[in-house]
Symmetry: C2
Subunit: 244 residues, 2 copies
């Protein structure tokens, strides 16, 4: 009876940790959505809200840390249970980083508020953000369901985010070349695109952790890495550039 009680409590604690992860994930999804919405509408108030909300996300990570440590100390789980608790700790850290990137987009939005949008870049940013937000939604579902197939699918979808990032990178550099007045806004847009690409990476990292909890090992296949921007140069690719 006593033993049964302990087992039940442990499950309840795991459930509680999971609920905090879901709460955190839900907030982060909203942050992603609202940061890019604020950018599109040049809405400084909404950008400020995204920055303020990040404190709640950070506090949830601290709460999850405390709870996992307490669970480890009191329940001393092993095998899958131990992996689940450690996984929660790491997933919380990934979500916190995703929230930070959204906060950074909101910060940059406050500078971009005084500028006009350049070309089609903001539309691509919006599509990237939608994709990443959907990945976060799905990875949280996969996390709750311990669904490896779903998790593996998310790893593959990150490639699309990387490809959009590559295209955007080239496009933004081109605008910068065309008119020096584009330099400041496009440079902030480059960092915003990079932030979204990094969010995709962190979501993928969460997906890999689900694989780890269920299977006891990280996925064997290397995930496809599609981000090529670190090695891009556009000087020689632009026809009719007014400066060349």
């Amino acid at each position: 009876m006593e033993n049964n009680h302990i087992v039940k409590s442990f499950d309840q604690e795991l459930k509680q940790i999971e609920n905090f992860i879901l709460e955190m994930g839900g907030l982060v999804e909203i942050q992603i959505h609202e940061s890019v919405k604020a950018l599109g509408n040049r809405d400084i108030e909404l950008a400020k809200k995204v920055r303020d909300d990040d404190k709640t996300v950070d506090n949830l990570e601290i709460k999850i840390d405390e709870l996992t440590l307490r669970t480890l100390a009191l329940r001393q789980p092993v095998a899958t249970d131990l992996r689940s608790v450690i996984c929660a700790l790491k997933v919380a850290s990934n979500l916190e980083r995703i929230g930070d990137y959204a906060k950074n987009i909101a910060k940059r939005t406050q500078v971009l508020a005084d500028t006009n949008s350049v070309g089609t870049a903001e539309k691509t940013i919006k599509r990237m953000a939608d994709l990443v937000q959907k990945m976060v939604t799905d990875v949280l579902n996969a996390y709750v369901k311990k669904d490896i197939e779903m998790a593996d699918d998310i790893r593959l979808r990150d490639e699309e985010v990387d490809h959009m990032h590559n295209t955007l990178f080239r496009e933004l550099l081109t605008y910068m070349m065309e008119d020096p007045r584009n330099i400041t806004p496009c440079m902030h847009m480059l960092f915003i695109a990079k932030n979204l690409e990094r969010m995709g990476d962190h979501t993928t990292a969460i997906a890999e952790k689900i694989h780890y909890v269920v299977k006891g090992a990280l996925p064997k296949e290397k995930r496809p890495k599609g981000d090529k921007t670190s090695q891009m140069s556009v000087e020689n690719t632009i026809e009719g550039n007014q400066y060349t």
Copy 2:
């Protein structure tokens, strides 16, 4: 006697984890140094070495993860011991990220190899890297000695890295405005500077974890945040810009 044996073994395991952290940290220090050296000398071979070395760093993180999980399962530590093990897990993750940023600098170096250095930016990059590398050395010492004062000092030094980043950011944007041929190299330099700034943040995060292991709580004082680049705009600050 039996109990004594178990206690001794646990200490040995903690020591082993610590040694892996130090090995990882030592490699990451070399990565920082060599990535910026490769940039300065336009040394593609050295840049390639930095990228290759990152696999060793990644494997060390996996090893530390496995070891901490085994220690948690077999030893079921509590209180300070538990915090030490969890801290190692998180520090390994921070070091892995720092290594990733060095790898990214090495990738960008391979593009920059065909370009001349612009202004004094690379000298500032070098000084930033030296500062960050020294912070990593010191944070590893503080980690081994469980020295809170040393750890708190590192948190303060990160402000200097942030200030250098701010200056560099403005400088690089100015070069981009002056001549469109500077856009691609300066844009990569902007990301390199950002990488170094992020390395400083991760080093600071390690310092805060040392505080946590020793005191059981994160430092109360908010660390000073000096990175202002997300809200910078230079259009109106440049006199004699040939395009305005």
